[in-house]
Symmetry: C2
């Protein structure tokens, strides 16, 4: 059966590209994707044919790639991180049903920013967590706000994707206000909730910032950042490798409020 691969390439460095993703790229006649992602894989496969499109041309990009598949070519469409998390996997499957139902769409998972960013910060996601995109391009802000409120009130750890856009520089501040207010019932000192920012994961300019809800400097957060906000048990640990954010799972008596 002919295949169309939707491939998550991880945060950007070859170090986090899985063998399965590598095999899909090798098998492809054409590698399609946003230009910035193509630049990340092109050095590995300099002789492949590439199909490059702009950032917001998602529908057109998928249609063009699927038409290549319809014509009998094996295509790998790449997303950074995991193609199944705010990537292209869903749209490709939706459009494939019309354009080339005879082609099997295969999703190849990648390391998403929740995982790669968490590892750089320490262990902020050891307990239940919610992943929310702050982008209101495709989702009404009211729905995003409701999700932030619900997740924070139920003491989830939070991971915020797309925390800033050109058009709406104030999204993260609004999100943090909603989260802080929702957390009032849960934690005595909401302002002390650990916050981690990870920028340019796996790429040039990789940077981590460990701070708190009260001290968070919104200006440090850009479009290439992922933001992590702890639950009521999350703490900041000073280590020889720098500050770390840790959310205990409850293995130690002290985590559960018991005497050690």
């Amino acid at each position: 059966m002919q295949k169309f691969y939707v491939v998550g390439i991880g945060p950007g460095s070859f170090e986090q590209l899985t063998p399965q993703a590598m095999a899909a790229l090798l098998a492809a006649d054409v590698i399609a994707g946003y230009g910035a992602y193509i630049k990340l894989v092109q050095p590995l496969f300099p002789k492949k044919e590439y199909l490059q499109t702009g950032m917001t041309g998602e529908v057109k990009r998928c249609q063009l790639a699927l038409e290549q598949a319809k014509a009998g070519r094996t295509v790998a469409m790449i997303s950074s991180g995991d193609a199944g998390v705010y990537g292209m996997a869903g749209l490709v499957m939706q459009l494939a049903a019309e354009i080339c139902p005879e082609v099997e769409v295969v999703a190849v998972p990648g390391i998403t920013a929740a995982s790669s960013g968490a590892a750089l910060l320490g262990a902020p996601l050891m307990h239940d967590f919610a992943v929310v995109s702050l982008s209101d391009r495709l989702t009404p802000w009211e729905k995003i706000a409701r999700r932030l409120q619900a997740a924070a009130a139920a003491d989830f750890c939070l991971v915020l994707y797309n925390p800033r856009s050109h058009g709406r520089p104030d999204l993260l501040r609004q999100a943090c206000e909603i989260i802080s207010e929702a957390k009032q019932g849960e934690a005595a000192q909401v302002g002390q909730t650990p916050v981690g920012i990870v920028k340019n994961i796996g790429r040039e300019g990789e940077q981590t910032i460990v701070t708190t809800l009260a001290d968070l400097d919104y200006e440090l957060v850009d479009m290439f950042s992922t933001v992590f906000i702890g639950n009521s048990q999350t703490f900041i640990q000073q280590t020889i490798g720098g500050p770390r954010i840790v959310t205990p799972r409850g293995y130690l008596p002290a985590d559960r409020g018991e005497q050690a």
Copy 2:
């Protein structure tokens, strides 16, 4: 600086072990972990020294491994999936602060079941999602129930880890009742919400089941399963590769309730 690696090995097959994880295992003098995970990597590194412990001996297992690090050896402790998601990263960091603060603990991310399972099911996590463990060994059921209720009411997609245990076979049924009730406000036909079950991801016996909240057979779900529950927009698609679960992100006019 001496390092202690906490390594996510992905769902189990070599195909999803990242080069970074491979490098950490190569660098290690000792590979520590639960026996079932050690069996997965031992064929790759037959001559390494292994430190194997039982499933519920998490604190002891970490202490023993950290004592090896204290004695100057490079240790890699493995978790299946991502060590930073219900894995050992947090506990290692907590205990390292006391046992060997001079050693840098490095988390190496892996493909967690949310990503690997979603890829097998199609694209169920294209929009905001919440990850919840149903295990009440370390977390009071009331807290788990509250999180399920909040996430479902706010129309998150849901991923349920540890959906079944020997002692509490009924956890998933209870969880689905809470979720169904919370969703009543959001969707007209809650029972039609797509549900995906993925078993033994990346291992022998890998299996996916696509069903709905109304038709879910709890007996099909075991300890090695991960369960995915859609949001109000999620649908089941019949494809040449089998049934798929897709959550639209909103790129297509039809996703947004507009005329195409």
